[in-house]
């Protein structure tokens, strides 16, 4: 069921304490700042957040972490020059970290959306990030078993939506949007523009509307 929602606050109102929330974006590109701010305001706590990073500067995900709302981060690259809020929480032992190689992060999210129960990959074989995981030699290469990452909610940013929820993105802001939309039970997309159904060329649609539940236009 697709809903067009007037405000970002209403769009995230159903997010409960303890939810797993995927947040799109790589750096600031594709990061749904308005939806993250609304998540902050809605008060949900004990969140597990899936994002490539763990917040930058004093905005968005970084503030959610600073306020102690995130119990666990699943990400590939938490440490950055301006990730001071995550750094402080991590060093204080106040946040869990599941560190995942970036390609495994993307493929585990994709696998969840595609109904795949797990997969073997050479990435990480023989490293500390494979410790405790099942391994096999396949095609002559050591490979590690990785499991899907599911989420209750995905918050993503796209350029345009049409009346049935089809999405197109802009340049490298696409990043995690399409796979997170498929992996979550409920996907909220903030978009810059809503066009009438038929207003997007079916050949260029990136995320079919079947993966999208809520759309909110953000100026």
């Amino acid at each position: 069921m697709l809903n067009f929602i007037d405000t970002v606050g209403e769009a995230v109102a159903g997010i409960k304490d303890g939810s797993t929330v995927m947040i799109g974006g790589f750096g600031n590109a594709g990061q749904p700042f308005e939806l993250i701010d609304a998540l902050m305001d809605c008060g949900a706590r004990e969140l597990t957040v899936v994002n490539n990073n763990a917040g930058q500067g004093d905005q968005g995900l970084a503030l959610l972490i600073k306020e102690g709302r995130v119990k666990k981060m699943i990400c590939s690259f938490p440490r950055q020059s301006d990730s001071w809020h995550f750094d402080a929480k991590y060093k204080a032992g106040e946040i869990e970290l599941e560190l995942v190689p970036q390609g495994n992060l993307a493929e585990r999210i994709r696998a969840a959306g595609a109904g795949i129960g797990g997969f073997f990959t050479p990435t990480g074989y023989g490293t500390m990030l494979a410790e405790g995981k099942e391994t096999r030699i396949l095609d002559g290469r050591g490979q590690v078993f990785e499991t899907p990452i599911h989420a209750d909610v995905a918050l993503i940013k796209a350029l345009k939506a049409d009346g049935v929820g089809n999405l197109v993105y802009r340049k490298t802001a696409r990043n995690f949007g399409p796979i997170m939309a498929a992996a979550a039970k409920h996907t909220v997309a903030q978009v810059s523009e809503i066009v009438p159904t038929g207003g997007l060329d079916p050949e260029v649609i990136v995320t079919p509307g079947i993966y999208v539940n809520s759309i909110v236009k953000v100026a």
Binding site: L99, G103, K171, N175, I179
Partner: protein
Amino acid sequence: MSIQTASIQTSETPLGRDDLARLVARDIKPGSFVNLGIGQPTLVSNYLQPEQNITLHTENGMLGMGPEATGDQIDGDLINAGKIPVTELPGASYFHHADSFAIMRGGHLDICVLGAFQVSATGDLANWHTGAPDAIPAVGGAMDLATGAKDVFVMMTLLTRDGASKIVEACTYPLTGVGCVTRVYTDKAVFLTGPDGVTVRETFGCTLEELQALVPVPLTAAPAVEP
């Protein structure tokens, strides 16, 4: 031995960062699809020639990446893996993150160029974590690049600030990938690594004997098959 070492010393002095980047750029075969890691490897793009027809991949989701953006070109939606604004070239394409890593993990990239803390005699790579107890680990795409690209080139200084060789018998830092590095470009020499150990393609400002005194693994001159 002295004749052989003279033949592989191709520079009277160690190479600076830009000279090393120029050398890596020259060694990339025309028509290659290449991913340049963050930091020193990014310099290589400054020396790629148009006639080489190299296509650059950036793992956040683009092929056909152009030079760093300046002035009015800067667009927050068009960045590279280092989160620096870049430009797109004619023929560029965008794709989502799982497709971007499938390009890498599926063996479609010809070369990736990475920095390193250590490389072992058999091509193990350590470049993501010092292992220090208070360090916050961050891996990004390093493990995917190391295991996915057909050739993994490393660019680094040969010695640490303390004078220890970064080419080692076995890595003491946590591994990024096992047996994945094929070449190591350093200020003092170009090394070829593989299951049979380390050979030296050329040296800069030192003889093979002088180089051997710095590096704790057996070195031999590489057969002269490389350009």
